[in-house]
């Protein structure tokens, strides 16, 4: 039987809030860093299509490194700071963000790009005002997968991070060490709820950014 000490949770709400906040930081900072790098590489891919193969290979290689090993390797360099978690987490987002951003930018039909050129868009302005908005559905699909994956990986980081980092994952490791089920469930379920909430927010953001994708049913 699952035996949860609700009173313990009630007494430690401060702790829950703090670890949730850290979990969010370990989501947002790596995602942002990963997105900036992936986007820059994707823009490079438009100008130099030859870079797609090598960049995909390298980001793919990063993705194959076991997460626990990656956190452990960084401990001697960055110590028990948040950076030890942020760097691998950002690296793991690169593959999916890069591949989806490239696919998104490439999904713009050639006649749309040609029309933009013919009307006198500069290449930067075309990228920002035509290609990027049209790439949003595919980019957001990548962002959602990367976000949910990252939320899960943060709990793994807790194994290395001890009481320093790991967000809600710290409840799981502490619960395992002290044989205290409530903490394990709190960490696991909390992490899952966080993933659902973040994913829901991202869906909302995508709907906000892409009103045209819902505009259908005219006189086709």
């Amino acid at each position: 039987m699952i035996d949860i000490r609700w009173d313990w949770i009630g007494d430690h709400l401060d702790d829950v809030a703090e670890k949730t906040w850290q979990h969010l930081q370990l989501l947002l900072i790596p995602m942002l860093a990963g997105f900036i790098i992936a986007f820059a590489l994707a823009v490079l891919a438009l100008r130099r299509p030859g870079t797609v193969g090598p960049v995909t290979a390298i980001t793919g290689l990063l993705y194959t490194i076991p997460s626990l090993a990656a956190f452990a390797v960084l401990i001697p360099i960055t110590g028990l700071s948040l950076m030890t978690a942020i760097i691998p987490l950002a690296a793991y987002t690169l593959l999916i963000l890069y591949v989806n951003t490239v696919a998104g930018l490439r999904s713009v039909p050639p006649e749309i790009n040609e029309a933009a050129d013919a009307m006198g868009y500069t290449s930067t302005s075309r990228l920002l005002h035509v290609q990027l908005p049209l790439a949003v559905p595919l980019i957001m699909a990548g962002v959602r997968v990367a976000a949910v994956t990252t939320i899960g990986l943060v709990t793994v980081a807790a194994i290395i991070g001890g009481n320093r980092f790991g967000g809600l994952g710290q409840f799981i490791t502490e619960g395992l060490q002290t044989d205290f089920d409530t903490k394990i469930y709190l960490g696991a379920v909390g992490s899952v709820i966080l993933a659902f909430v973040v994913d829901g927010l991202l869906v909302g953001l995508q709907r906000f950014l892409t009103p045209w994708t819902r505009a259908r049913g005219g006189e086709q």
């Binding site: 040609e114 933009a116 013919a118 009307m119 006198g120 505009a215 006189e219």
Partner: protein, 409 residues
């Protein structure tokens, strides 16, 4: 509104190397020299791979020529900033290329926005243009392209191209993707707009019928990117310069010529008419004077009611509507001779009644009059600027391949 600019091609060539051809580059262009007079529609027509689209895209530098110069109102476009050049040239393509993530109003305002117009001015211009192409701004402005039909989208495409009132418009098979009924309507609307706007338009098509209908000047291009013949539509049809052009314009070119003229152009025969209530004696008198057996019965507004055959009518009394036989076809004075002749043949009569906008009888069109007109030199008259452009254009000497693609899908 600013009207058109002169576009001059001065020995323009575009050659592709083997690698580019492998990637699917368009047709090459070979030493093209041609001047398009301001305010005219010049149609480039030819089979695929003849370089017509390449020629078009060199005007807004989507493709850079490998030789020669293109001048707009005397200015070499190679020396103009490419974005400035493009913002001054309207561009309409078959796939339309509307931005799916922008509303119709935002799409139309694209070039004004890039030019940095104020919001109010953009808005006013957008409404004006949507109304111009027959789309109610209040209904359509906030929709997205995916909510429009193919024909509506193409109208938006035209409105977008006109937004900053450019003197030059480039149209690459603009009506190639819509069904024939919508295509004809869009063609007519463009011609109607052009009467007021007088842009210089380069219009690419592979459809010889569309070329003849839309063009003030038609350039027939051939494989290898050269000009086979330049002429006004009537000239091409009446006197194709080569076997290639003759085959391209088709063996029905006599009928196609008919589509160039309106019933208005031909001398109509006067109709002998009586009104309801006139007496039969008057009728006979008029029939004798005109030496005809048939008299047209009209109402007080001189609108036709039917034919009266004098042989069938009693000697005395008054004409009533019941005497009238069914009418021969009613032709509008704006109908093309092709449509009018077709109606006559279809209804197996030798003449049709021509009416004006109010339905009043103007006269009769006979097949004989149509034939006379076609032999008349006036049917081959060409405006001076077009004649000059034809005289100056350089026809390219290229070996013509045997198999020739003909027009029309």
């Amino acid at each position: 509104m600013s009207s058109g600019a002169t576009i001059e091609f001065d020995h323009v060539s575009k050659h592709y190397d083997a690698a580019a051809r492998k990637r699917g580059a368009g047709g090459a262009v070979e030493d093209l020299s041609l001047t398009i007079p301001a305010g005219r529609i010049c149609v480039l027509v030819g089979p695929s791979g003849c370089g017509k689209t390449t020629t078009l895209k060199m005007v807004n530098r989507l493709i850079e020529p490998t030789g020669g110069r293109i001048l707009i109102d005397g200015v070499d476009i190679a020396e103009v900033d490419v974005t400035d050049l493009r913002r001054g040239i309207g561009y309409v393509i078959q796939q339309v290329g509307l931005f799916p993530h922008q509303t119709i109003a935002q799409n139309v305002a694209t070039v004004p926005r890039l030019l940095g117009w104020g919001r109010a001015r953009q808005h006013a211009r957008t409404d004006e243009l949507l109304a111009l192409v027959g789309l109610a701004p209040d209904t359509y402005g906030d929709r997205y392209p995916s909510q429009l039909s193919g024909g509506e989208r193409q109208r938006v495409g035209v409105a977008r191209a006109l937004a900053a009132d450019p003197p030059v418009m480039l149209m690459d098979e603009p009506f190639g993707a819509v069904d024939p009924i919508v295509r004809e309507r869009l063609q007519n609307e463009l011609l109607r707009l052009q009467e007021d706007l007088a842009k210089t338009i380069i219009f690419v098509t592979h459809d010889i019928d569309e070329a003849i209908k839309m063009g003030d000047l038609v350039v027939v291009m051939q494989q290898g990117g050269g000009i086979a013949q330049v002429g006004a539509p009537a000239e091409l049809l009446a006197e194709p310069a080569t076997e290639y052009v003759a085959r391209f314009v088709g063996s029905d070119r006599g009928l196609k010529r008919l589509s160039l003229y309106r019933v208005d152009d031909v001398a109509l025969e006067p109709a002998t008419m009586v009104r309801v209530g006139d007496d039969y004696a008057t009728l006979r008198q008029r029939a004798d004077a005109a030496d005809t057996a048939f008299v047209l019965l009209v109402d007080d507004g001189q609108r036709p009611l039917g034919w009266l055959d004098r042989a069938d009518l009693p000697m005395a009394g008054y004409v009533s509507e019941a005497d009238a036989n069914p009418m021969s076809p009613l032709l509008d004075r704006r109908d093309t001779l092709k449509d009018a002749t077709s109606r006559l043949l279809d209804e197996e009569v030798g003449s049709g009644i021509v009416v004006d906008r109010n339905g009043r009888v103007l006269g009769l069109l006979t097949l004989g009059a149509v034939m006379e007109w076609m032999q008349d030199d006036r049917s081959r008259q060409v405006p001076d600027d077009i004649a000059e452009a034809v005289a100056e254009a350089v026809v390219t000497q290229i070996d013509v391949p045997d198999e020739v693609a003909t027009g029309g899908p």
